[in-house]
Amino acid sequence: MPINTELYPEEETHHNQASDAYQKAKKALRDERISGFTGVFLALFMWGHMLFVSSILTGEQTFNFIADLFEHTWLAQITIILITIVFFVHFVTASRKIPRGLRDRKKIIKLGKSIKGSKNRWNQEITSDIRLRNHSETILWIWQVRSGMAILILGSIHLFIVGTDILQRSLGGAGITALESTGRVGSGLWLLYVALLICVEFHAGVGLYRFAVKWWIGKQLPLVGKVTRRKTHLVEQFILIFFIIIGIVTLAVLAGLIDPPLESLMADVLGNSI
């Protein structure tokens, strides 16, 4: 059955890197990569950030020490500029998928709710993939968009506040200190921070889960074996809960509601080492 090759003009069978199609394809890959990698970068940053902030749990001393170290070495200044840029790049590339029309967004919500019950039935083996629980990822995506929007606003405010702080330090001011942070959180801005904390951890958690599923599912990795949805989902859940707990406790300390729970521990360590 020979095929009539007239159907396929040469333009279509000869491909080169200058062709429109190729450039377009390249752009799509680039956008996907940028939105993905900036997201991963921001998530990793947020976890590091969280750990540094949570140093308040061991007392003001450590907190001030770390803050001072970063500002002194100009790391903080560089980071905040970098993060601000990445933050907005991520916003621009990741939001390219958000439907413009309200009607479209409603469609997604409706469908997401409708297919919630899509879990498999009797033949589900315990060892098999994630289907035992309800389908939630569609609705989660809507919440990802919402939390992303919230982060865009709340995060911008936070970046502005902290940015001013750090800038002050560069100009000879006090910079970030436990005292000031506590004051700020205690003064009512805690509301902003609780909201930001939950949005960020949720957004980062779900985002990373999605990222892992998009690029690594089915791949054999050392230690974890074959990457599956179940495994990635479990990891995501664990990290999410872990950081939200740390975050809440940290905020509680900063708000002066409780004393730093690990202060005595730190004192022991410091005491011993001195």
């Binding site: 394809a25 997604i108 469908l111």
Partner: protein, 241 residues
Amino acid sequence: MGRTLTFKIFRYNPNKDNDSPQVESYQMEETQRLNVFTALNTLRETQASDLMFDFVCRAGICGSCGMMINGRPTLACRTLTSDLPETIELYPLPFFKLLGDLSVDTGIWFREMAEKVESWIHTQEEFDPQATEERMDNDIANKIYEAERCIECGCCLAGCATVQVYPDFLGAAGLNRIGRLMNDPRDQRGDQEWFELVSTESGVFGCIGMMACDDVCPKDLPLLEVFSYIRRKLSKIELSK
């Protein structure tokens, strides 16, 4: 056993003048081993002679009977009423063109998809009736078959929020087909061709990752694995240029 089932069925016939979409209720005694295929046929024979729905093989292989059963897209022929509550809501699959009641036009979409992805083996070699067949590793044959099992029922598309909003998106069924062809050593399309075909916003990067396709696929295809394979492959292609 012994339940009275209430079927709430979406009814609309676009060919009937002045007809408007509505939901009608039908009652029926549940019998043993009843599935939605048998139930719908009984309803048509006894209560609603004009009820439109599609079945062909009624054995889960032809992919005709995808519909929304209590909100989820699945095959009616392999859905048992005993797994459902007493009230069963039946809607046609969203996204596809409605032909009437529970019947939608999946054929046209899949034909267009096949044309878009040029869903045939691209080879310069002509078939030689006298020659022995070209050898192939059985593992590769099995791997191709794994993706080839797609029955084009359209459930993945009906469950996909992305495709509802961006109708150009190839969806899980389209990407799975591309993945199947990429794995086939007989297809002589080169890296660049694959890259241009699938590294696009209507291709694999149109996918937002809502994973509903994976949750609703009645054939349990490893769809997400296929997509991640394609993504990594495209990345490799681009990096090697």
